[in-house]
């Protein structure tokens, strides 16, 4: 009797022990992997921010349907940067320190991507953005970009020259955001204009989120430019275009935008004739992606820089699986082979990173607003639909593996 009771107790203990060991493993298998998202769901670029987040959500669903990462689903943990750098930094700190994400994606606006990138890089959190300021190359090895940078996109100036080929002299003015990307745009545009023999008459770096731009706009118009290059955020575009219209500017064909999608929510009379170069979504998977997006959300995205965030989620998921780890440094090192082998929807599909973790090439296409809709546009006499701008030298080469620590030190010491 005593032996029987003892055996039963022993058996019961063994069974209990086994169940206790098994239970955590089952919970761990189902526990989602958190991926941080820092994007402007409100604020100056809210339209683009919401489009971008929808692209990320679409990608996350697909990743989970394909088995997730390390056998677990991914979960997007989102912080709204409100289009304000301070809110962006607060969000970055929260994602790093409280949510403890190994990777974060977002920062549509360069004004957010830069300071947030500094936070994430310092805390060794992989940060994947599609902002375009050149200064992203200076932060550190944990920062990646799935769209091209400003110095690759100065070809808008070439586009303007080709579109005004009948003019002997072309006077250019610039209207850009008063932050890092705006300063980059201004610098590279002026430089390219000088190289092409065009006359630069005025630069305006406006205060993002401002409510009254009349004085600034008056100065731009007083300079009598033939073409105005712009890169403005969607909410600012609402005010700027309205105030230009009230000032008597009803023909907007002199406006050439680095981001024509920013005007996408405006009524037709505020956009008629605006042209520009948009980041393309023409990869082999692009059509299928656009159809899926429309099927899920009812309408197509308005901002051309939203699809790179879809690619960002997929690259991150692939990198985590390649790294077979949630250690952020291992994920970082796996980002290069992941992007090298991934066929994207944005650009022309090639999303390979150069040694800085940035795109080796940028792809754009001409656009024009007609009756409130953004349509493809080809400069007269041109046969190209897509302009590819690849860096010269090693920066234009996508890498299939991460640089070494020594190479990182040289890269970032030189900045």
């Amino acid at each position: 009797m005593g032996k029987t009771v003892g055996s039963l107790i022993l058996l019961g203990s063994a069974l209990l022990g086994a169940s206790l060991m098994a239970a955590p493993a089952v919970a761990q298998q189902g526990e989602p992997v958190k991926i941080g998202v820092l994007i402007g769901l409100t604020g100056s670029s809210a339209v683009a921010g919401n489009d971008s987040y929808k692209c990320m959500q679409l990608a996350a669903e697909e990743v989970n349907a394909a088995g997730g990462v390390l056998g677990r689903p991914i979960k997007l943990v989102v912080q709204d940067d409100e289009g304000r750098p301070k809110a962006g930094v607060d969000g970055a700190n929260l994602l790093s320190d409280v949510e403890k994400v190994p990777v974060a994606i977002g920062g549509y606006s360069s004004g957010i991507a830069l300071p947030a990138g500094q936070v994430f890089n310092e805390k060794k959190v992989v940060w994947v953005t599609d902002a375009t300021t050149n200064k992203l190359k200076t932060i550190g090895p944990y920062v990646f970009d799935t769209a091209g940078l400003a110095d690759q996109e100065a070809a808008l100036v070439d586009f303007v020259k080709a579109d005004n080929a009948d003019k002997k002299e072309i006077k250019l003015a610039g209207m850009f955001t008063g932050n890092a990307i705006g300063q980059d745009r201004d610098t590279v545009s002026q430089q390219r204009a000088k190289e092409l023999g065009l006359t630069w008459v005025h630069s305006l770096l406006y205060t993002v989120g401002g409510t009254d731009f009349r004085a600034e706009l008056q100065k731009v118009m007083d300079a009598k430019p033939d073409a105005i290059l712009t890169d403005i955020y969607d909410n600012d575009a609402q005010v700027i275009q309205r105030q230009l219209y009230e000032m008597g500017v009803t023909n907007f064909s002199m406006i050439y935008s680095y981001n024509p999608g920013a005007y996408g929510t405006l009524e037709g009379k505020l956009t008629e004739g605006i042209k520009g170069l948009d980041y393309v979504t023409t990869g082999p998977r692009a059509d299928a992606f656009t159809k899926k997006y429309v099927a899920k959300y009812g309408k197509v995205y308005t901002d051309a820089w939203a699809p790179p965030f879809y690619d960002a989620v997929w690259i991150v998921a692939t990198a985590i699986n390649l790294a077979n780890s949630l250690d952020s440094t291992k994920i970082r090192d796996a980002m290069w082979p992941a992007a090298y082998r991934y066929l994207g929807v944005s650009g022309e599909g090639d999303k390979g990173f150069n040694m800085y973790g940035k795109q080796a090439a940028d792809q754009s296409s001409g656009r024009e607003f007609k009756d409130g809709k953004l349509m493809p546009y080809q400069v007269k006499g041109s046969t190209k639909d897509v302009f590819v701008f690849r860096y010269n030298g090693p920066e234009g080469v996508p890498l299939d593996k991460a640089p070494t620590d020594e190479e990182f030190k040289k890269l970032y010491a030189a900045q």
């Binding site: 409100t42 809210a46 406006y206 409510t211 009254d212 004085a215 008056q218 007083d222 909410n235 009230e246």
Partner: protein, 305 residues
Amino acid sequence: MNIAQVIVSSLITAAELGIIAIGLTMTFSILRFANFSHASMAVIGAYIAYSFNVKLGWPLLLAFAVAMLVMGCFGIVVDRIIFRVMRHAGDLTPMIASLGLSLAIQYSVQAIWGPQFLRYKYELVPGMSLFGARITGPQLGIIGTVMTAMICFHLLLTRTRIGKAMRATATNPELAQACSIDTEHVIRVVWFVGTAFAAVGGMFVAWDTQLDPYFGFNLIIPVFCVVLIGGVGSIYGAILGALIIGFAANFGINLNWGPVLSLFDLTSAGSNFSLPVAYKPGIAYMAVIVLLLLRPSGLTKRELI
């Protein structure tokens, strides 16, 4: 520089600041404290008008009129609940309470209407040409309405019993009470008119630009500057102060300062130099400092009229 356009822009700025400042200086004149929540009243008024115009589909001017009346009543309620109990607590306590109220209002607005930028619904038309400047119908309406409001307010103060009672209360509240003036009734009228004016100012600012929860914060300092320049407690001083701030800020960024700077060898002769537009608020504050150095009590005497 298009002088006519700069004058128009200056008048619009002055009108928007002036009507808000009148309410602030009136509150100060009678209640004797700096009401930091005044600009927040402008914000709520603008958002309430938005709800009437966009959510309920009312015509814009009707939305403005009703929102103005609603806000006037709201001002009375705020006084009843918060500031009445502090009547005899000096000027510091209600000032601090108004600061807290201002923050509470800002975050409540954000919670209710959201942090995104909003716009009123109305037909957009190009501005008309007027002596070389471009001005839209709404902008003419803003200037005209503010001028009309000021004339009506002057008539209220000088030709009506309640206006006389307000002036008496502002001059000496105890003596006014001794003369059987119902000072609490006067205070209610002041809150109603002051808050309604603030709401109108907020609606005009939002109409001319756009709505965002932080625009009250951006208004409070220029409005206080207007009141300080004009003389705290002086209605006509507030109007004068608004004109000075409006013109200083707009002319300051449009003028070519090259010839002035070349006199001090800071630029070469004949060069153009104009201040970046980001300095526009700074010009207004410099004007305040210069004028207060010359006349610390403001440009006009401290009295309601």
